[in-house]
């Protein structure tokens, strides 16, 4: 079998391709031919070759924030279980470590936005910080439900154990997949939470916070977003496929599911518009709501009835 480090490196390289897939779906839906599927790689390399313009108002925060975002994405992949069911690193409670690693990336992004002293970026920072409330609560509720379902406390073991459980009803599985898909949209700053195409006041949450970044810094941020989306798509694939991944067929099916998730993101972006700002918390709250329904259903089914 391919050694786990190689799988980890592959996982780090692939997300940009899926981002290209999403962009291609949006283009085809709109009747255009669309950019090549590997366009995001060209974009990232182009940005890495450029210099930067650093605002005079900024400080050390602005310099280190992109690095922390990318480091958070790269660290989170260490905990994902690959083909053999093991991750590079796992321990009890690592789900909270992941939550807080994403948290510090968000913390530094918000501070970097406030650092520039621009009102656009302050607006984005304020919205990002407020919406983070709902997303984090939803994520934790989802993880709590998975802990109840499997009795394991570490991400890798939860995902592999969930696959082994046959008696979890399909409804619960569907609820998890939908909740995680909403998280892909939320954390990847996609419609209906945010519009990745524009930097205008009305749609800005994430795109505007990186307005003053250029060159390698911007490349880091774009890569970090792709990593985050891939992380949640990975979780969806693990929860969708009810059997083990050791064979080639398993891995192909896995990649197919992740591809479907990204295609789904593209379709959602082409079909609906970004939600009104006051409706975004309601949308984000759906994640927590779906997780709590899953929790209730699981608790009842595992205990064989209410009480």
């Amino acid at each position: 079998m391919i050694p786990i480090l190689l799988q980890y490196l592959c996982a780090l390289i692939v997300p940009l391709f899926f981002l290209g897939l999403t962009n291609r779906v949006k283009a085809v839906w709109a009747g255009r031919k669309g950019a090549p599927l590997v366009q995001p790689y060209y974009d990232i390399f182009r940005l890495l070759r450029k210099g930067e313009v650093v605002s005079t108002h900024t400080s050390f925060i602005f310099q280190i924030a992109p690095a922390i975002s990318v480091a958070a994405g790269v660290t989170s992949f260490l905990f994902l279980p690959f083909a053999s069911g093991e991750s590079i690193f796992s321990f009890d409670g690592d789900i909270f470590f992941l939550l807080y690693v994403f948290g510090i990336a968000r913390f530094m992004l918000i501070l970097s936005a406030l650092d520039t002293g621009s009102s656009f970026e302050g607006m984005g920072a304020s919205r990002e910080a407020t919406f983070a409330l709902f997303v984090e609560v939803g994520f934790v509720l989802l993880m709590g439900t998975l802990v109840l379902a499997t009795g394991e406390y570490s991400l890798a073991r939860i995902l592999t154990a969930f696959r082994a459980h046959g008696e979890i009803t399909s409804i619960v599985r569907i609820l998890f997949v939908v909740a995680l898909f909403l998280m892909v949209l939320a954390e990847g700053s996609r419609v209906p939470v945010d519009d990745p195409n524009t930097h205008l006041e009305l749609t800005m949450i994430h795109e505007v916070m990186i307005l003053d970044n250029a060159g390698p810094g911007l490349a880091f941020y774009q890569y970090a977003i792709a990593l985050k989306m891939f992380f949640f798509a990975f979780l969806i694939a693990h929860l969708c496929i009810p059997f083990s991944l050791s064979s080639v067929v398993g891995i192909l099916l896995f990649v197919l599911v992740i591809g479907c998730v990204f295609v789904g993101v593209g379709i959602v972006e082409s079909v609906i518009a970004r939600a009104r700002l006051s409706h975004v918390p309601q949308f984000l709250f759906l994640i927590a709501a779906l997780s709590s329904i899953a929790f209730a259903l699981l608790a009842i089914s595992l205990r064989g009835g209410i009480l």
Binding site: G51, T56, A67, F91, D92, D94, G117, G144, L307
Partner: protein, 661 residues
């Protein structure tokens, strides 16, 4: 044990020295005295923590009090270390802080004297094991802190706040009097070691005593319904005292609750669920209110309430583990309590110290008038950055380790067998995550608006850190444990386990192994994360080596208008959150606008207030005031009336004696 007592005596005497010396020698003598006391207090504390032995001694008083036993066990040792180090740091900080004080020298003398008194009384609280003596030093602690809070007593507002604080402390003492009275009357002894029998078998006396103890210590700690004194007292006090009160003094309330638990009290399911609920309410209420404040010391005060709430949640988790006989959950819960207590001391003191430097330079506590201070106060900015990241619980700093242990304890309680426990655990999980997310909002706002961006108000004086080297040194000392405990916490595990054994004697090997393993892995994860961050930073540097890096102004869509007031302010940052949560953090808006055809002058003010205080506490206080006003004729001020009272009393005593003969 004798050296601990001498240490406490030295703390008190250093305060007295300050009365007799003059000028700068006051502060220096206090700092030297406190430093000397460390050599008496710290070695014994570390010895007790590492070896698990207990130091005992006793003082002999005449009959009503009798023999007062003093005891330094691992639990007292942690709090003694916090008290000793915190007092020393505050005393050194005060030298710098009061350097430019232009008021009377009497104020400074009183300040240093009561600082010594406070340090000595706090240290005594954690070693005394006799009810009467405990209440005596508890009251001394409240009184000395009252005098410290009223440092700037020429101002009306300070006097009112100080009296409010004193009344709150008397409420705490009243509950403790009741509690100790109840327990002592049942056991016929004042010594703590005999209190265990009251709490056995879940007797009703035990439950009432537990509730009274929790209320008494809870007022001091700042739990939810009894927290209203904290956001008034902590901003009013000078920064060094705020740090001492917030970082050290409210922890004596936590010490009291832990001591009662170690004697056998509060160990029932009702208490566990109750404490976890109160902890959740406190944490959420505290941080929601912290997020909407404009005064940075009030933000920190409300954040202390939030952290006490988190400690309460951890306490509840530990008690749940105790009552459901899950030793891993117990260990994780109590480890979380102790570690978070220590962590909160480090980062809250650091934040109050650095915010004190900002206040001294900008002369304002309003964050809306600050901005861009990272350029003018760079070292303060870096140290506060560490403090704010730690207090939000972010890895790889120490705040995360404490919160991680609490989270792990909570999810370890989620199990299929016990439905009520699982539901409570999930609610606690949601509560803690929500607290953490609102904390992220609050502290990015505070650090961002105060230090980052560009200055919102042009000040005439130059703002610089040159004159604050001493304060910066003290703040730097506190940054060390924050970083070290975050990256290599497993060095401190042996210290923690001894303390937990005091509270939960039946600790088993499996739980300890699990605990060690968790802490070790957290440390490895933090180190890996740091390495990857450093790698990414280096990568960016390398990529930019030969490229052009231009400095230019922030992108402003072509034309900004030239005002730094166009930046996002604190109120704008928080506005979305505040509208979403308006029942909890209500806002009062005052808009004054002239009606005219063309735009004319307009005035807008918005204030957020504490809804619990305004809508629940104040009406009750109003009611009590109105009732008691009806009796105000009793104290008319006329001497003749008071003589009449004396005469009536004598006559009634004579009649009573005559009737009983």
């Amino acid at each position: 044990m004798e050296s601990v007592c001498s240490g406490i005596l030295i703390l008190f005497l250093s305060g007295c020295c300050a009365l007799f010396l003059s000028g700068r020698k006051k502060g220096i003598s206090l700092a030297i005295g406190f430093g000397l006391a460390q050599f008496f207090l710290l070695p014994q504390s570390f010895y007790v923590l590492l070896s698990g032995k207990v130091l005992e001694s006793s003082l002999q008083f005449s009959e009503p009090i009798g023999c007062v036993s003093l005891r330094l066990d691992a639990l007292s040792a942690l709090f003694l270390i916090i008290i000793a180090v915190g007092s020393l740091l505050t005393s050194v900080y005060s030298i710098g802080y009061l350097r430019n004080y232009k008021g009377s020298e009497n104020n400074i003398s009183t300040y240093y004297f009561f600082l010594g008194f406070l340090a000595a009384s706090m240290a005594s609280v954690v070693i005394v094991q006799n009810a009467v003596f405990f209440l005596f030093v508890w009251e001394l602690m409240s009184l000395s802190s009252f005098f410290l809070v009223s440092f700037d007593h020429q101002r009306d507002e300070t006097r009112k706040t100080a009296v409010y604080y004193l009344v709150a402390m008397q409420v705490s003492a009243a509950f403790l009097f009741l509690a100790f009275g109840l327990v002592s009357s049942i056991t016929n002894s004042f010594d703590f070691s005999s209190f265990g029998e009251v709490f056995q078998n879940n007797s009703s006396h035990g439950v009432i005593a537990g509730v009274l103890f929790f209320l008494g210590f809870g007022v001091k700690a700042g739990f939810f319904p009894m927290h209203t004194w904290l956001p008034r007292a902590h901003p009013t006090a000078p920064s060094g005292v705020s740090a001492l009160m917030s970082g050290v003094m409210i922890k004596t309330g936590i010490y009291g609750i832990l001591r009662v638990i170690s004697l056998g009290g509060m160990q029932s399911k009702v208490f566990a669920y109750g404490i976890i609920t109160i902890g959740l309410l406190t944490a959420l209420y505290g941080i929601a209110n912290a997020s909407v404040q404009k005064d940075f010391k009030r933000i920190l005060a409300f954040s202390s309430i939030e952290n006490i709430g988190i400690i309460g949640i951890a306490l509840g988790v530990g008690l749940l583990g105790l009552t459901y006989n899950n030793s891993i959950v117990t260990l994780l819960g109590f480890a979380g309590v102790l570690l978070h207590t220590f962590n909160h001391f480090t980062f809250k003191s650091l934040l109050f110290y650095s915010v004190g430097i900002v206040y001294q330079e900008t002369h304002t506590r309003n964050i809306e008038y600050c901005g861009g201070l990272v350029k003018q106060l760079p070292r303060t900015a870096i140290l506060s950055f560490l403090g704010f990241v730690a207090i939000s619980g972010m890895p790889p700093l120490s705040g995360f380790v404490g919160e991680f242990l609490i989270y792990l304890g909570i999810i370890k309680s989620i199990s299929i067998e016990n439905f009520a426990l699982s539901i409570t655990a999930v609610v606690a999980l949601i509560g803690m995550t929500l607290t953490g997310a609102i904390a992220l909002l609050t502290f990015t706002k505070t650090f961002g608006i105060v230090f980052l961006g560009s200055p919102r108000v042009q000040s005439e004086q130059r703002i610089s850190e040159e004159h604050h080297r001493l304060e910066l040194l003290v703040t730097l000392v506190l940054a060390v444990p924050i970083v070290v405990l975050g990256i290599v916490p497993f060095f401190f595990i042996p210290l923690l386990t001894q303390m937990i054994v005091i509270v939960h004697p039946a600790l088993d090997e499996v739980a300890l192994q699990y605990f060690n393993y968790s802490v070790k892995y957290i440390s490895i994860a933090a180190i890996i994360f740091m390495v990857i961050v450093l790698g990414a930073v280096l990568l960016r540097r390398v990529l930019l080596l030969k490229k052009s890096v231009r400095s230019f102004k922030t992108w402003d869509c072509g034309y900004q208008g030239g005002s730094s007031r166009l930046q996002y302010s604190g109120s704008s940052f928080i506005q979305l959150f505040q509208t979403l949560l308006s029942p909890v953090v209500p806002q009062k808006k005052i808009v004054v606008q002239e009606e005219s055809i063309f735009p004319s002058s307009m005035r807008f003010e918005s204030h957020t207030y504490d809804f619990f205080e305004r809508h629940l506490l104040q009406p009750i206080m109003q009611l009590i005031n109105t009732l008691l006003d009806k009796f105000s004729w009793i104290q008319s001020g006329k001497l003749q009336q008071y003589i009449l009272y004396g005469l009536l009393f004598l006559i009634s005593v004579l009649i009573w004696i005559w009737c009983s003969l």
